[in-house]
Homo-oligomer: 272 residues x 2
C-alpha cells in the first residue's frame, strides 16, 4: 500500500527504540527481506540473524525488503544463538505450539506492553523467531524468559515468518506510541445553524409539494418528520446545506421530459 | 512458523464468518497468494478480486498461498468494484494516506470491533484493499462507509498488501474470539510446602557453611536472607525442590580437584 511520507522521517527518528528481532536459522532469503520491510513499518531498527550467513545480501532479500535495505545492511550475523542474546536482559521466544516448558505465555499485546515498559526503562529486549519449517528448537525456547504465541485459526496456525514479525512490530508500535491513527476525519466547515437547516427543510418540502409528492394528507406529517430526521442525521455543515439547496434546485429545473432521465452510472474502474 | 494442528479443524469450522476481503486490481499474483495465506491464518473465508483476472490461478499465487489454495479456488472475480460490493451493507476502505474525504477514520482495532459486531448481528461486511503501487483511487474510497488506516512508522508507511490484510484479519480474529493465547503455561506440580522449602534452605545453607562460603559473620544473616528470597521468587514446586536438593548434592559431591571443573557449554546450534 502506498503512503510513505519522507518528510516525516524526523518523526520516525523520534520513535522509541524497540526490541531486537532475532531470526534463528531463517531458510528463505526472501523472508529475511520481508522481515526487514515489516520492521521498517513499525520503526524496529535492530535485526540479528543466527546461523544464516549471506541471507541479507541475497538479491531476493533485497527485492522483498522493498526499500528497507538499510536494515539488511545494519543486520548483525551470529553463529550461535547464545551470542546473539548475550547483551539482552529480556528475551521472548515466539512459538506456534505448546512446548510443555514451565514458562509464562504472552499474547502479542501482553508481550508488547512488557517490551515497551522494559525498553522504556532503559532495558535491552529481543524477540526470537524460529525456522520457517519447524520454528525454534526446545533448547532455543529454553533460553528465553517468556514465550509469545499468536491467536490464530487453529486449523491454519502457520504464520509466515515476516508476518509473525509484523504482528510483533505492530503490537509493539501500538504499545509504544498509543496506536492512534496517523490521521483523522478532516475538520469540516462549521455546522449549519438551525435557521439554515429549517430553510433547507422549507426548500425541499415546498418543491415536493409542487411536485405532488405528498399524495395522502394523512401521511404528510410523518413523511415530513422522516425527511427532516434523515437530513439531520447527516449532521450537515453550512457548506453541505448550500450543496443540498443546489441539488434540490438542479433536480427541480432538470426535470426529465417524457423519455425520462438516464440513470447516472459510476465511472467504470477501467477508466481510472 | 510451524504449528498447524489439523485435528483442530472442527474448531476452525466453528469460527464466526468474517468480513469479505476485497482486493482492487492487485498487481502481483504472489501478493494474492500471500493474502490467501493471511486470511487462512485468521479464518477469513471470502476473497473477492476486482479487475485482476487470472491472478488466483497464477503459479506464484499458488506457491505463496502455502496450502491456503482453497481460498484461491473459492475467490470470486469482478470487473467492477461496485459489483464486488453490491451485497455488502458495511464496507470499510483501507488507506495509508489522508484523502480529505469527510469519512470517519478507524484504527484496525476500532474497525475490527465494528466488523465483529456487524457480522455478529447478521450483517454482511467487507474490507477493501487497493493496488500495491498507489492504493485505492479516491472514487473507490468514496464507495466505502468508513476508512481504516494503520498506525505505522510515518517514514516507512508502505505496508505490503498481504501484511495489511494480515493486520485486519488479526484484529478481527481478536475481536471475534477474545484473542486469548491458544495455550497457556502448562500446569506444574503442586507448590512445595513451607516445611519442604525450609528443608531446602537448611540443605543449601548447611553445605555452604561446610564450604566456608560465609566468610564474614557480620554479613551471614543478610546473605542467608537474600538466598532464601531468591529461592522463593522461583515459586518452586515440590518437584522443583527435589531437583534443587539433587543439584546441591551433585555440586557438593562433584567438587573439582585442583585442576578445577570445566565450564559447561551450551550445545552449539549446528548440532541441532
Amino acid at each position: 500500500m502506498a503512503g510513505t511520507d519522507h518528510t516525516k522521517s524526523a518523526l520516525a527518528a523520534a520513535l522509541p527504540s524497540g526490541p531486537a528481532i532475532i531470526l534463528v536459522a531463517p531458510q528463505l532469503a526472501q523472508n529475511v527481506g520481508s522481515v526487514a520491510r515489516a520492521m521498517a513499518n513499525f520503526g524496529l531498527a535492530e535485526l540479528r540473524i543466527v546461523d544464516a550467513p549471506g541471507t541479507t545480501d541475497d538479491p531476493s532479500a533485497r527485492a522483498f525488503a522493498a526499500g528497507a535495505d538499510y536494515l539488511l545492511d545494519a543486520a548483525v550475523h551470529f553463529e550461535r544463538l547464545e551470542d546473539a542474546l548475550a547483551d539482552l536482559d529480556l528475551v521472548i521466544a515466539t512459538t506456534a505450539r505448546e512446548r510443555g516448558q514451565a514458562k509464562p505465555v504472552d499474547t502479542p499485546p501482553e508481550a508488547a506492553a512488557r517490551l515497551a515498559a522494559h525498553v522504556g526503562g532503559g532495558g535491552r529486549a529481543g524477540v526470537m523467531f524460529g525456522r520457517e519449517r519447524n520454528g525454534l528448537e526446545n533448547e532455543e525456547v529454553a533460553l528465553a524468559a517468556r514465550v509469545m504465541t499468536f491467536p490464530v485459526n487453529p486449523a491454519y496456525a502457520s504464520l509466515n515468518l515476516s508476518q509473525a514479525v509484523l504482528l510483533v512490530g505492530y503490537e509493539w508500535f501500538k504499545a509504544a506510541t498509543g496506536g492512534a491513527a496517523p490521521f483523522e476525519m478532516p475538520t469540516r466547515s462549521p455546522p449549519g445553524s438551525h435557521a439554515e437547516l429549517v430553510a433547507l427543510f422549507a426548500h425541499i418540502e415546498g418543491e415536493l409539494r409542487e411536485a405532488g409528492f405528498f399524495r395522502s394528507p394523512s401521511k404528510t406529517a410523518s413523511m415530513v418528520i422522516n425527511l427532516r430526521n434523515m437530513i439531520q442525521r447527516m449532521e450537515p455543515t453550512k457548506q453541505d446545506l448550500q450543496t443540498l439547496h443546489g441539488v434540490v434546485s438542479a433536480l427541480v429545473e432538470g426535470r426529465p421530459g417524457p423519455e425520462g432521465r438516464k440513470r447516472t452510472v459510476l465511472k467504470p474502474l477501467a477508466e481510472d
